[in-house]
Symmetry: C2
Subunit: 696 residues, 2 copies
Amino acid sequence: MNLMILSPIGAAVALIYAYYLANKVTKQPEGTEQMSKISASIRLGADAYLKREYSSVIKFFALVFAILFGLSMAGFMDIFIPISFLTGGFFSGLAGYFGMKIATSANARTAWAAKNSLNSGLRLAFSAGSVMGFVVVGLGLLDVSLWYYFLQYWFRALPEAARVAKISSLMLTFGMGASFLALFARVGGGIFTKAADVGADLVGKVEAGIPEDDPRNPAVIADNVGDNVGDVAGMGADLYESYMGARVSAAALGVAAGLGLAGFVLPMALAGFGVLASFIGTFFVKTEEGADQKKLLGSLRKGTYTAGILVAVGAYFLCKAILPAENVVGIYAAIVSGLIAGIAIGFFTEYYTDSSYKPTQNLSGTAETGAATIIINGLALGMKSTSIPVLIVGISVLVSYYAAGGASTFTMGLYGVGISAVGMLSTLAITLATDAYGPVADNAGGIAEMTGLGEEVRERTDALDALGNTTAATGKGFAIGSAALTALALIISFVDAVNKIDPAALNLSITNPPVLIGLFIGGMLPFLFSAMTMEAVGRAAQSIVVEVRRQFKTIPGLMEGTADPDYKSCVDLCTKSAQKEMILPALLGIASPVVVGLVLGVNGVAGMLASSTVSGFVLACMMSNAGGAWDNAKKYIEAGNHGGKGSEPHKAAVVGDTVGDPFKDTSGPSINILIKLLSVVAIVFVPVVLSFSLIK
Amino acid sequence: MNLMILSPIGAAVALIYAYYLANKVTKQPEGTEQMSKISASIRLGADAYLKREYSSVIKFFALVFAILFGLSMAGFMDIFIPISFLTGGFFSGLAGYFGMKIATSANARTAWAAKNSLNSGLRLAFSAGSVMGFVVVGLGLLDVSLWYYFLQYWFRALPEAARVAKISSLMLTFGMGASFLALFARVGGGIFTKAADVGADLVGKVEAGIPEDDPRNPAVIADNVGDNVGDVAGMGADLYESYMGARVSAAALGVAAGLGLAGFVLPMALAGFGVLASFIGTFFVKTEEGADQKKLLGSLRKGTYTAGILVAVGAYFLCKAILPAENVVGIYAAIVSGLIAGIAIGFFTEYYTDSSYKPTQNLSGTAETGAATIIINGLALGMKSTSIPVLIVGISVLVSYYAAGGASTFTMGLYGVGISAVGMLSTLAITLATDAYGPVADNAGGIAEMTGLGEEVRERTDALDALGNTTAATGKGFAIGSAALTALALIISFVDAVNKIDPAALNLSITNPPVLIGLFIGGMLPFLFSAMTMEAVGRAAQSIVVEVRRQFKTIPGLMEGTADPDYKSCVDLCTKSAQKEMILPALLGIASPVVVGLVLGVNGVAGMLASSTVSGFVLACMMSNAGGAWDNAKKYIEAGNHGGKGSEPHKAAVVGDTVGDPFKDTSGPSINILIKLLSVVAIVFVPVVLSFSLIK
């Protein structure tokens, strides 16, 4: 039996389950009329943002499609590449749309459910997160399955070996549409959410002196919308892209390693099986009343660990059923090493950013000597925190390469590296569920606050929200780690793609000057990209500050609570800023591989890809972890340490937190997409670069 | 005629000129008794620091010498390697000692000379800087010349080709001693100077409310000592190392390219000729009374540009006299490209950090919305500022490689890259003079303030000091650029060194997993290293804060100016902290290539070296430029913009400046040494790694 069938089965299970959960969630009551009203405002804002984002992204899709179509007419690429570019973008956009729909439907419902019990609140928020998780993997599996069966049919005249080679090399480029959309989603969403957050805080909390999530703050709805467009839609698009990239590059490497159809099918079947494991895992997520954060975290962990163990067991039988006997153990070890690496990176991210561990506790102490020292030490913490993830990735690559047999067969070793990325991402459905749960709980807390649901409910939503911060940190580590492994697999696939057309063009030695210069350029790109996104947040936040100030000045009765602020204008401003500001960083990601390729040739591109992956991985870790640590150091002080809320150390910590905002929610996560997009664009343009580059 | 003779001639000219200038400087009057007294305190502190540093560094030298000696006894390296390790350290230490001696002698004299005229002050400070510049290159040339003639004699029985090959590969490792000392000097000096600076500011300026350089501040002498040990001794050791590394690696590459003795001699002769050009250049540095900063800068530039033009002309005749006819034009072009790259990087560093340009002016505006925004935008500025230096290095490598003939002969192209680094560094004597001039002027300003020399003098020393900040920025850019090119040359030499012993061991493709993992580790190392040095500054500054507070509390009459503070205890504390804190970062630099080599083999080391050079270059640019821009943004506000001194924006800018301190004066510059040291250690340990590595 061709186990490829697990891929559409997984897609079906995932989508049906997501549909079932979505139905269940939306059947819950939304609470009071005021709650419905606020939830509707957030929904409206999020819808408006997404509509506007998609309509401006469509123009870019049309442009790139036209270029790709022209190139395919000129014989530089297969016609399926421009078409798949559209389908990839479509499915990725759809996943973001569904994820955000359910998240914005579930926020008030979660707050209302928390009125009953902590467990009801958790179950509801987690169900909403699960919809996101399962929709992402479901559509990801569906996209690949549809294309696979269609291309099998289309190329049915070819003998099997040639057909599989053709299909695998074609599908390698199918991640580009998803990557492209993800970049806009992550960058745009990241700018939106932080502009709203910073804008709301600077005027509301600091100048007007009203608490967070206060309904009098004109930017409060924009802030809540931001949680959804940044953390839900952005994160979903990011991981959708990794999920696509990891599978298709592993498949291409499997075929290149001489495994034929088996090499192609294994990553797809593994991903399909991962959905089933995740499905079972979700049933282990529940908690009892009065559970503390440790217990809550434990209940989520039970779900992800169960799924992980199921995959670890099932993968062995999959390998046995699909691969030649001599490859079973090695490839299986590669899968497990990826699975473990993902969990380990998540754990160390938590270690560096959670205030229950030393690093963040110590960081909060440095606030006692002022803002400068907590900034310096936060940056140092972020920099230091990069070393363990680097070692984990290094060990994982080493283990999967040698276990798969790299010492004797180079290409088989590389397949091991590729399949380890799929292993890491196999339980994505449930990992993403625990992550997307966070913004729902965050929104629920905001709604509880705005509608005055009472102390007990607020305490429960706070507990859920605090947990959300931890899962967000773990999730970010996982997203970075999987992006790095995926990018690596894509780089190797890039080299393989060149090798198929013109092996003589390759001289990948790091002493070859084009490679060397490519390394320099690639090392710099994530820095330039981060600078762009950070400045974009600054500009966007500035415009929100001006608008919020204007409303406080010109709307009579606003501060007294007798008049409503104009929420919509803030949402509109954020939307417009995000749309405008996301273009330049996106262009950098798309144009760099082409421009570098046309000057330095394929070797220069390879150098650039390797170095941007390394430098991007390190920088993203640093920014995410420094940002997370500042955030939690502030919360740790607010919990009564080092003088507590309102003290001088607290003010210093607020500065740290504000610096960390664009770090952890805009620039850091956007780098994940950048490094994958660079690789996938490079793959698509291999024939063009080979033909026209200045340096061969 | 063997033009190698230019090397000892250059050494002689440099050292005699330095001696002459030093004599001239010390013959000038030191001013009032109080001025002498303060200058003596600074001198005493600096001497004490250096003595202590050298005595603790000697232990590490003994340890490493013992290891190297043992390895040479076991047949893993030539006996000359451990010996040259000592001589390299000795000469580098000597250069730092002389440079600091003269700088601490010239400070009061410069203040006193400024009483006569601006020109006298400039000439005196510049003379002191020149002593440093010429001593560094003089000893650098002397070290290499002595070894060259000695080894020529020692191996006289060998035929010329074999002899040159032997000498060039031996001397390649001779930079290790200098590197090793430089790391301690830069890291220790950087920690000292910033701990004193931050400590003095936090308590003196912020808590006690007394002005900068106030003699009542117990840390004021330590602060002035810090300028000398960090900016003079540290910078000197850094560039001494680049100067060594660039020449010996170019020489080795020249021999590897088949140029024989000519390939070896050219970099040495070029460096010797550069001393003569720099010597002539110094006579063009003078100014008239009432010169504004632009004119002052112009007068320094006249000196460096004259030297640059002389080298650009002379290098052609050197190439013609030394090289085979077909290589003259190409290698000459490579030299000029390095020369231009050095100037260009310096210019763009100035552009990004000087408040007469847009970036820093805009940055100062972001202080209006608080500390968080100026921090975010300063980091973004630093990140953005990395792209042009990367492109300059890239273009320079490309031009020198292809001009030298890399398209047809790979090794000749690499020689082009190596010689371009020597071209960049050829005018080091005068470049370093304009740089080391800064701390002297800074100290002079401090002494003028402490001794109440009057408004007019203070204005003149301020003008000299402001200029010093600009030359320091340019100098930092130059130091980073030359470190990157030197490191590149060393990496290529590393590969060549492996190639000579076991060509089969090399697989430098970036898809080879050990290379790939090496890239990851190398990309992370500068981050980890920076984290360590930043945290070290924080801890050291903390101890100074405690001590200064103690003195203000326990010494009666201190605030009233009736009692003297205990300057010495602060100097001692800084010294002790710096000694303690420099060890761990230094170990990281020394151990990494060996540990990575023993696990991942030579290919892993090559990946690590390439990536650490790239990531280190980018990070160092970012940190230095962000730090410089914050510093000057603060000064720009103090000059009356955005509310001026004491305003809220000014307070925000002070936070930025404080964050920038360890960035630009400790971590950033120390990375220069790290990347060179990694390479040179890797070269020394090639035979060991080849024999014992886990992965071959």
